[in-house]
C-alpha cells in the first residue's frame, strides 16, 4: 500500500454531488484529500487519469459465487477477480449456499476465503429462517454479529405469513434489514417463461404476474404492521413497481432493486428457445422493461444488481425448461448500466448512484462514495473506450451470457480496493 495520486480524472461522486476534474490523494488506503495536496503527502505513485472517470467502486447487492457448495462451477477467488475487473469492489451474496448461511461459521468461512483472494469485499446475507425452510427463525442477531448485512429467504421454499410476520418482528427488534425475492412458487407452478404470447407459442409453462405481485402486496401489509425495513430484490413486473412506489409514498421503509439484464431484455428474446435467456424471474414484456427503466430513473428502484449466476456449460445444454436459470453477469453490470445513460434513460449520476451509494445505504455500508477519509474503493473508467463483449474472454468461471457480441462504450481500466490496485496496470501495488 503506497501513497497514490490519481491525477486529472473526472471525479463523479453522486453521494456528495461532485462532478469535477481534479486530483485525488490516497494515503493509508483512504482518500486523504481531493484537489489540494495534504502537507505531509508525497506521492509514491502517480496514476495519470486524464480523460477518465474516477467513480466509487461498484457495490453489487446480489451475486452468487458458488462457494461454498459448488466449487466445481465457480469459487470466491475466480468470481471476485471477475468482479474487480469490472469495477466491482463490494459483493453481497445471498444465503442459499451449501451449507446455507444460517450460522456464523459459514459467514466466517466466506470472509476468510475472500480475504485470501485479495480482490473485492464479500459480504453475506444470512438466512431468514433456519436452512431457508421457512419454519424456524434463524439466529439473526448472531448472524448480524458475524457480519451479515441482513437476512433473506431467497426464492427457495414457501414461508407462511405467521412465520414471516414473526421474522419481521424479530428482525425489526435487532434493526436488521430483510431482503426478499417475491415469488409464489405454487402459482408459478414450475413455469419458466412470462405468461404471454411468447410462452403460448413456445408451449412453455407460464409464470403469471401475480406470482410476484401477490407476495409483494401481502408482504407490504405485514411490513405496515411490523415497522421492519424490507428490500425487494430482482423485480420484473410493472405492477410491482406501482405497489412499491405506493408503499414508499406512505412512509414504509421499503426499497427495491432490479437485475441489469431485466433493463435490456424481454420475453421476445427467448423465442428461439435460447437457454442463455432463461432467467428467474422470467424476462417479461417490453412494457415491463420500460416501467423498470423508468422506476430506476424515478428512484423507486434505487439500485441495479448483477444477479450473477455462473453455471457450467452443461447447465445450459438441454431443452429450455430443463436448463438452469441465470446469467453470469458481473462483467456486464457496469456496461449494461452505462448503456442506459447512452440511451438517455438515466443520467450518469443516477447510473453511478444505483451502483454505489444507493446499495451502500441499503446494506448499511460506509462505502460507495468518495468522501474524504473514506476507504479508497474506486475505479477508473475510460468513457470513450469502445469494445465488444466476448463470452470467451470472461474471467468468471461461468460463460453463460446472452450478451456476447454486444457493443459497449466505456470500460473499467483500473480498480482499487482499500488503496491497492487489484485490477489494471500496476496491479498489486
Amino acid at each position: 500500500m503506497c501513497n497514490t495520486l490519481i491525477k486529472g480524472a473526472r471525479l463523479i461522486d453522486p453521494k456528495h454531488q461532485r462532478d469535477e476534474i481534479t486530483d485525488v490523494y490516497i494515503s493509508n488506503g483512504k482518500i486523504a484529500a481531493i484537489g489540494q495536496q495534504p502537507e505531509d503527502f508525497s506521492a509514491e505513485k502517480v496514476i495519470n487519469a486524464e480523460n477518465q472517470w474516477l467513480i466509487p467502486g461498484i457495490i453489487d447487492m446480489c451475486a452468487r459465487l458458488r462457494e461454498p457448495g459448488q466449487e466445481q462451477v465457480a469459487n470466491i477467488e475466480s468470481e471476485t477477480r471477475a468482479a474487480t475487473s469490472s469495477g466491482i469492489t463490494t459483493l453481497c451474496i445471498p444465503p442459499d449456499t451449501d451449507p446455507v448461511i444460517d450460522e456464523p461459521a459459514v459467514v466466517e468461512l466466506i470472509h476468510r476465503k475472500a480475504r485470501k483472494a485479495k480482490q473485492s469485499y464479500v459480504y453475506t446475507l444470512g438466512a431468514l429462517t433456519a436452512k431457508l425452510k421457512g419454519e424456524h427463525l434463524s439466529e439473526m442477531a448472531a448472524l448480524k454479529e458475524a457480519g451479515c448485512l441482513g437476512v433473506s429467504n431467497c426464492r427457495t421454499g414457501e414461508i407462511n405469513n405467521l412465520v414471516l410476520r414473526r421474522a419481521f418482528e424479530y428482525a425489526s427488534t435487532h434493526n436488521i434489514t430483510v431482503f426478499l425475492e417475491a415469488h409464489d412458487a405454487k402459482l408459478a407452478s414450475e413455469g419458466c417463461a412470462h405468461e404471454g404470447a411468447i410462452a403460448n407459442r413456445l408451449g412453455l409453462n407460464p409464470i403469471p404476474y401475480a406470482a410476484e405481485t401477490g407476495p409483494i402486496a401481502q408482504t407490504l401489509e405485514l411490513i405496515r404492521e411490523t415497522d421492519v425495513r424490507v428490500h425487494f430484490g430482482r423485480l420484473s413486473c410493472s405492477r410491482s413497481i406501482e405497489l412499491i412506489a405506493q408503499a414508499q409514498a406512505s412512509g414504509l421503509k421499503v426499497s427495491a432493486d432490479v437485475a441489469a439484464h431485466q433493463l435490456h431484455l424481454t420475453d421476445m428474446d427467448i423465442s428461439s428457445f435460447n437457454s442463455l435467456y432463461h432467467v428467474m424471474p422470467p424476462l417479461r414484456s417490453q412494457r415491463d422493461m420500460q416501467a423498470l427503466r423508468k422506476a430506476v430513473a424515478d428512484g423507486v428502484i434505487s439500485s441495479i444488481v448483477s444477479d450473477h449466476q455462473p453455471h457450467e456449460p452443461d447447465a445450459k445444454l438441454a431443452p429450455f425448461p430443463a436448463t438452469e436459470p441465470g446469467i453470469s453477469s458481473l462483467e456486464t453490470l457496469l456496461p449494461l448500466t452505462l448503456k442506459l445513460v447512452e440511451n438517455n434513460e438515466l443520467t450518469l449520476s443516477q447510473a453511478i448512484a444505483s451502483l454505489s451509494c444507493n446499495p451502500a445505504e441499503i446494506l448499511g455500508l460506509d462505502t460507495g462514495h468518495l468522501g474524504i477519509g473514506s476507504e479508497a474503493n474506486v475505479c477508473l473508467v475510460d468513457p470513450e473506450h469502445e469494445w465488444t463483449f466476448n463470452s470467451r474472454e470472461m474471467l468468471s468461471q461461468g460463460k453463460n451470457t446472452p450478451f456476447s457480441g454486444w457493443h459497449f462504450v466505456g470500460k473499467v481500466m483500473m480498480t482499487m480496493v482499500g488503496g491497492i490496485v487489484v485490477f489494471g496496470k500496476n496491479e498489486g501495488q
Partner: protein, 351 residues
C-alpha cells in the same frame, strides 16, 4: 460454399437465429414446428402426402429411403404415434430403430447430448423425437451432426407438427383445398396441447377463414388471441356454423390440478354430442387426434357416426409422415462432402 458467408456463426451453445428448419435452398431440412414455414412448404407436404396415399392403398412399399437409418427417439411413452412413424419409415424401405429412452439412459444420469452422440455413432440419418420438455426438438436439431435430420413427434406443450399436417390433409381431402372458405373449431384442453398449437399455426398459414378455440378459461391460455384465434367459452356459440370440429384429448390428471371439477361436468359443458353438433354446418366433419375418451370428450355415437373422420386421420397419418421423411432426407444442406466437412468443423468449434 457461397452459403457459408451468409450463415451466422453459432454462439457458444451452437444455437443461431437461422431458420434451422430450412436448408440453403429453402427446402425442409428438419420438421420441428409449423411456425415459420410458408404456405408453399405446407402445400408441398400435403401434395407429397397425396402421392404417398396411393402407395399406402396399393403398393405398400417404395425404395425411396433404402439404406437410411431412422431412429425413433421417444422420451415419453407412446405407441400410436411411434407405430405410424415406424410404418411410414418401413414403407419407404428405411431401417428403423426404436429407442425408449425414458427407461434406459436418462434414468442412469446420461445427459441428452450424450445419448445423441451415441446414436449418431450408430450412423443414424434421422431422429424422430418425442420429449416432455418444450423445445427439445429444436435443441436436438441445433446439436446433431449436420447430415442428421430431426422430426418433432411432440415436445412438451410446444408442437406436434406431423399431427397438425395429417389433420390438414384430412381437412383438404374432405373439404377441398380452399381453407379460406372454412370455419374450424378446436375444442378442449388448448393449454396443455401441442397438437392445438401446431394446428392453429397450420390453419392460419393455410389462410383458414376462421379458427376458433372452445373451452373453459382454465384450459385456454391467456392471450391466445395473439396466435390468430377467436376464443369461445360456450360450446353452442363456438360450434355455430363451423365446417370442422377438432376435439382434443383431455388428460385425466387435469382433474387433479384444479383445472376442472369433474368429468361429468366437463362432458355436460364441452362434450361433443349429436345434439350439440346441430348448430354446426350440416356437412361438418368431426376430428380427434386420439386416443378418444368416450363419454367425456365425445359421445360414442358421434365418434362412430358418419361425420367422424377419426379413423381416416390415422390412415392419412402414415402418408403425411412418409412425405415429411422423404422431403427432409432429400434436402441438400450438409450432404455435399465439402459443405458437410466445413459445417462439421464449425459445430465442433462451437463447442
Amino acid at each position: 460454399m457461397v452459403n457459408k458467408a451468409t450463415r451466422p456463426t453459432p454462439d457458444i451453445l451452437g444455437q443461431d437465429l437461422w431458420n434451422i428448419q430450412l436448408d440453403e435452398q429453402g427446402q425442409l431440412k428438419h420438421f420441428l414446428t409449423i411456425e415459420g414455414l410458408g404456405t408453399n412448404i405446407l402445400n408441398q407436404i400435403l401434395d407429397t402426402a397425396e402421392s404417398f396415399a396411393g402407395v399406402n392403398e396399393s403398393v405398400k412399399k417404395v425404395p425411396l429411403l433404402r439404406g437410411k437409418t431412422i431412429v425413433n427417439l421417444f422420451f415419453e411413452a407412446s405407441t400410436r404415434t411411434r407405430t405410424t412413424f415406424e410404418l411410414a419409415a418401413k414403407r419407404l424401405s428405411a431401417d428403423v430403430l426404436n429407442m425408449n429412452i425414458s427407461v434406459s439412459a436418462t434414468s442412469k444420469g446420461e445427459s441428452l447430448l450424450d445419448t445423441l452422440r451415441n446414436l449418431e455413432a450408430m450412423q443414424a440419418d434421422m431422429f424422430i423425437v418425442r420429449h416432455a420438455d418444450s423445445g427439445t426438438a429444436h435443441f436436438i436439431a441445433n446439436h446433431v451432426a449436420p447430415h442428421i435430420r430431426v422430426l418433432n413427434a411432440g415436445d412438451g406443450r410446444h408442437a406436434h407438427p406431423t399431427q397438425a399436417m395429417l389433420d390438414m390433409f384430412t381437412i383438404r381431402r374432405k373439404k377441398g383445398a380452399d381453407f379460406g372458405a372454412l370455419r374450424v373449431a378446436i375444442v378442449g384442453d388448448i393449454l396443455h396441447s401441442r397438437v392445438a398449437r401446431s394446428q392453429i399455426h397450420a390453419l392460419n398459414t393455410l389462410n383458414t377463414g376462421e379458427v376458433r378455440v372452445v373451452g373453459p378459461k382454465t384450459l385456454i391460455p391467456k392471450d391466445i388471441e395473439a396466435m390468430g384465434v377467436t376464443v369461445f367459452h360456450d360450446m353452442s356459440k363456438g360450434l355455430q356454423d363451423v365446417d370442422v370440429v377438432i376435439m382434443l384429448r383431455l388428460q385425466k390428471e387435469r382433474m387433479q390440478g384444479a383445472l376442472l371439477p369433474s368429468e361429468q361436468e366437463y362432458f355436460q359443458l364441452y362434450g361433443l354430442t349429436e345434439e350439440r353438433l346441430k348448430v354446426a354446418k350440416p356437412d361438418a366433419i368431426v376430428m380427434h387426434p386420439g386416443p378418444i375418451y368416450r363419454g367425456v370428450e365425445i359421445a360414442s355415437d358421434v365418434a362412430d357416426g358418419e361425420r367422424s373422420v377419426i379413423l381416416n386421420q390415422v390412415t392419412y397419418g402414415i402418408a403425411v409422415r412418409m412425405a415429411v421423411m422423404s422431403m427432409t432426407l432429400s434436402s441438400s444442406s450438409g450432404n455435399s462432402t465439402a459443405g458437410s466437412a466445413s459445417t462439421q468443423k464449425q459445430s465442433q468449434e462451437a463447442e
